[in-house]
């Protein structure tokens, strides 16, 4: 039978990446002077698993590299080597290196082993150097095994046990004997009394020997004590065996597991040299062969057939079990087992094919680990749904108006089942945010080192769950915000001391649920945003005019404007040409929002609000002519009927709505979306005021319809991206309705405006 091991590769890669993450997390927690052994154990286990899996699934280069890492960890774990700060750094770099190698292997690329080889040299230097006396003697052997990949196969294993047997006193040249029927094996086997308690039944070994050739067994019962002192669980017997066939390796393998717990001698008797040994003589032969202290015992041997032995043993074992069962008094209550089941979920990639070509070769389906409780609840829901469905089915078979109430009840039940089922399914995609948070300790560690700042990272609400897709997309904006807090927020230790603060700054990541949203906060206790400088900069950049009087909030908002960057020197840390405007845009693309609150001298708090899932949207259905569009409810500020007194006409055909103290431009959705409306007259339709990218706009539509949750479907899957439309959904009647991308529509408007301005010489 041959099994294609590549089918397990995906799972192996995933768990290895998880393992590397947990190694990284553990390493960041390690303090060389005072560490928890369990942390080292966790790191060791992860490395060990990666090594084991890599060897099994054919990634020898990974196994070899992990081996040196594991060796160092093992020494630290065993206390034979002390942990040093350099070790942590080295292992951290190895984790990075392994990640890259594994990524390459997953992408079916040739991994670059240069870094790995360099790191290996460093490991070898550590392992070779200053080895304390307690260090195992196998050190040099391990070092050499790195040159040639260790060939860990059955044969090496067999030879290892073979040498042990040789040490037992048998002639080593016996191993060269063949199975040619010119002789036979003579084996004396006396297992320790406890052999049965390790699950090693002599019967099994005899069975294996029988498979090698004709076996004759001769039980030695002289050690069996009086019945009164007999312990039924112990084995008192010994055997003299002759075996016609099998190689020394094969015979050794049979006894491999019991060699240390038994007296064993294995001797080849060459029949061409010696006269054939009869069974009568076997006892004395055994006496010679076995180096027993008391040689007289074997005299009382009697011949027992193998079947008899087997039967006797079985009886003894049964008896033992019986005794034990009676003794069993405590019935332990089983703890509830929470297992993890891996559910393969093909996560359709919604981003366009603008990704790296390299990436596209990797399988796009990823798996998601789901707690069994979630699966169970799902199964329960489906069960209920089936019951409701069959109830409705019966009702429909011979329906009359008398049963109307029951039908209504049934439909209400169905609605509830469906809603619960939907929630359960959504829960499957929910993962704790710790998956994202776990990246940041490393980031903060490296960055604070690079900037000579002392920073403590506090993580709160790590178990807050959110949709896997949202999670994947929120990582980068968060990295940027954390970099920003580190770079611009937290002061240098000197400045902090001068300001009467503790030397070490704190960045807190906090996540919690609020309504249908997840809120993520990035809080620092740094110097806070510099209002005056932001204002100054915004005036310089022409984002606001000098005369405008702005509230603090409005000034803070300016940092999210395109073309704004307060850093005097664009630093390597938070510069990178990406501004806060990009952060905000990325978050808005997830239908979320970001805002900042700051207190001078005390710090800043960035608050990100995101929907829990991208798959469902709370929508407002609007009608434009014959078509129905969906507006995200989250972006709607208010809806109103137009009073022409509220409309001002500015610059030709641009109408604005005066909404309290604001002027809101009006956008005719039918013009933007190129559909035939019912009304061209503003007074006859409705205005839906929406907000996106910090600007408000009034969308003119014919009618407001229902508000409902809609399941977002991709337009790109079979078609392409459509400007101003973020996706589609299927309405209750089966029709397709398009979901309006508010910021997309605004972009179109701005582009048109720009174009108009350029076309109009007066505007210039």
């Amino acid at each position: 039978m041959s099994i294609d091991l590549s089918q397990f590769h995906q799972v192996f890669f995933e768990e290895s990446f998880e393992g590397l993450d947990s190694m990284e997390g553990g390493l960041l927690d390690l303090n060389p002077d005072d560490f928890d052994v369990e942390t080292i154990n966790t790191i060791f286990r992860a490395a060990h698993s990666i090594k084991g899996g890599a060897g099994t699934f054919g990634f020898q280069i990974v196994a070899d590299f992990t081996h040196v890492l594991e060796t160092l960890l093992d020494e630290i774990r065993a206390g034979t080597r002390s942990l040093e700060a350099d070790h942590i750094d080295l292992i951290l770099r190895s984790v990075d290196c392994l990640r890259e190698i594994m990524q390459a292997l997953q992408d079916e690329d040739e991994p670059d082993m240069t870094t790995a080889d360099e790191l290996k040299v460093e490991f070898e230097a550590i392992l070779a150097g200053e080895s304390q006396p307690k260090t195992k003697e196998s050190q040099p052997e391990r070092a050499s095994s790195k040159e040639t990949p260790p060939k860990e196969t059955q044969s090496t294993q067999a030879s290892a046990s073979e040498s042990e047997t040789t040490a037992d006193g048998s002639d080593s040249d016996e191993t060269s004997e063949s199975t040619e029927s010119t002789g036979h094996w003579e084996i004396y086997f006396k297992p320790d009394a406890d052999v049965l308690k390790t699950g090693n039944e002599p019967v099994r070994m005899f069975r294996e020997l029988e498979a090698l050739g004709l076996l004759t067994s001769d039980a030695v019962l002289c050690d069996v004590p009086d019945f009164s002192s007999l312990e039924p669980e112990s084995c008192y017997m010994a055997w003299n065996l002759t075996l016609e066939g099998g190689t020394r390796e094969e015979v050794d393998e049979v006894f491999e597991w019991v060699i240390d717990e038994s007296e064993l001698s294995i001797r080849w008797v060459d029949e061409t040299a010696t006269s054939s040994i009869s069974t009568d003589e076997s006892a004395s032969t055994a006496e010679d062969v076995s180096e027993q202290e008391d040689g007289s015992e074997s005299a009382r041997s009697e011949e027992v057939s193998e079947a008899d032995v087997e039967k006797a043993l079985e009886e003894v074992i049964e008896e033992c079990k019986h005794i034990d069962e009676e003794d069993e008094t405590v019935a332990e209550a089983d703890e509830p087992v929470v297992e993890d089941t891996v559910v393969e979920t093909a996560v359709a990639d919604k981003t366009p094919a603008a990704k790296k070509a390299k990436k596209s070769s990797a399988p796009e389906s990823t798996s998601i680990r789901v707690g069994i409780d979630k699966i169970d609840s799902l199964i329960n829901m489906v069960g209920e749904l089936v019951i409701t469905q069959s109830m409705l089915g019966q009702l429909g078979e011979d329906f009359d108006m008398a049963k109307l109430v029951r039908l209504q009840e049934g439909l209400a039940q169905l609605e509830q089942n469906t809603r619960e089922l939907q929630e359960s399914v959504m829960r499957i995609r929910m993962l704790p945010i710790s998956f994202t948070f776990s990246r940041f300790p490393r980031l903060v560690r490296d960055l604070s080192k690079a900037m000579d700042k002392k920073i403590e990272l506090v993580l709160l609400g790590e178990n807050t769950e959110l949709d896997k897709t949202v999670m994947e997309k929120i990582g980068d904006p968060m990295v940027h915000l954390i970099r920003n807090s580190l770079d611009h927020g937290i002061e240098s230790p000197e400045d902090r001391l001068a300001a009467g603060k503790s030397e070490t700054g704190t960045i807190t990541l906090n996540a919690f649920h609020q309504g249908g949203n997840i809120v993520i906060q990035i809080i620092d206790d740094g110097k806070g945003l510099d209002k005056d400088r932001i204002h100054q900069k915004a005036i310089e950049k022409g984002l606001v005019t000098k005369d405008e009087i702005l509230s603090d909030e409005q000034i803070y908002e300016l940092i999210f404007k395109a073309g704004f960057s307060t850093a005097d020197v664009v630093s390597d840390i938070s510069g990178r040409g990406v501004g806060m405007d990009v952060v905000r845009r990325n978050i808005q693309e997830l239908n979320g929002s970001v805002e900042v609150v700051s207190v001078p001298g005390e710090g800043s708090t960035f608050t990100i609000r995101l929907p829990l899932t991208l798959a469902i949207l709370d929508g407002q259905l609007v009608r434009v002519g014959e078509e129905i569009f969906i507006l995200p409810l989250v972006s709607i500020v208010e809806s109103l009927q137009v009073d022409l007194k509220m409309i001002n006409n500015v610059g030709g055909n641009n109408e604005v709505l005066r909404l309290r103290d604001e002027y809101v431009p009006i956008l005719k959705l039918h013009e933007q979306l190129n559909v035939e409306p019912e009304n061209y007259d503003l007074e006859k339709g409705l205005l839906v005021v929406v907000e996106a990218d910090n600007s408000k706009v009034g969308l003119f539509v014919d009618d407001l319809l229902a508000q409902q949750q809609v399941v977002i479907k991709s337009l790109e899957q079979n078609y392409q991206k459509v400007e101003g439309i973020s996706g589609a959904t299927i309405l209750g009647d089966g029709r397709v309705a398009l979901i309006v991308d508010i910021s997309g529509v605004l972009r179109i408007v701005n582009q048109l405006k720009g174009k108009k301005a350029a076309d109009d010489p007066r505007a210039a």
Partner: protein, 120 residues
């Protein structure tokens, strides 16, 4: 069909072992650590336990010790999945009452041969 309990904290190893053994007609249950394995084992009926050594919560050695205190598993074959480099673990495992070991890395055929031998 004989019932086997496969214990390993690595999902890929568990999958590989389960796939191999199920393919050969065995009835396989899985556990991701010693504690889980113990809970499942207590539900009874396993003819063989196959366990990794290094695992969180409860390691393989402790699992063997715990299993051997249960009447049902006093004599049940328990095989450790161990790496060549961890020869001290072999001895520790044996002392705890393990039947034998299978050395990692192993391929499905090696696994199956050993299991068939033990179960007869």
């Amino acid at each position: 069909m004989p019932k086997i309990l496969a214990v390993d904290d690595s999902a890929s190893m568990r999958q590989m072992v389960t796939f191999t053994l199920k393919g050969a007609g065995f009835d396989v249950s899985e556990a991701a650590d010693g504690q889980q394995a113990l809970n499942i084992a207590k539900q009874g009926g396993f003819d063989l336990v196959l366990s990794d050594v290094n695992m969180p919560v409860m390691d393989g050695i402790q699992l063997v010790r715990e299993l051997r205190t249960l009447a049902e598993y006093k004599f049940t074959p328990i095989l450790m999945l161990t790496t060549e480099s961890a020869s001290d673990k072999k001895i520790e495992g044996k002392q705890a009452g393990a039947t034998g070991w299978i050395v990692k890395p192993f391929n499905p055929d090696q696994l199956l041969n050993t299991i068939k031998k033990v179960l007869g």
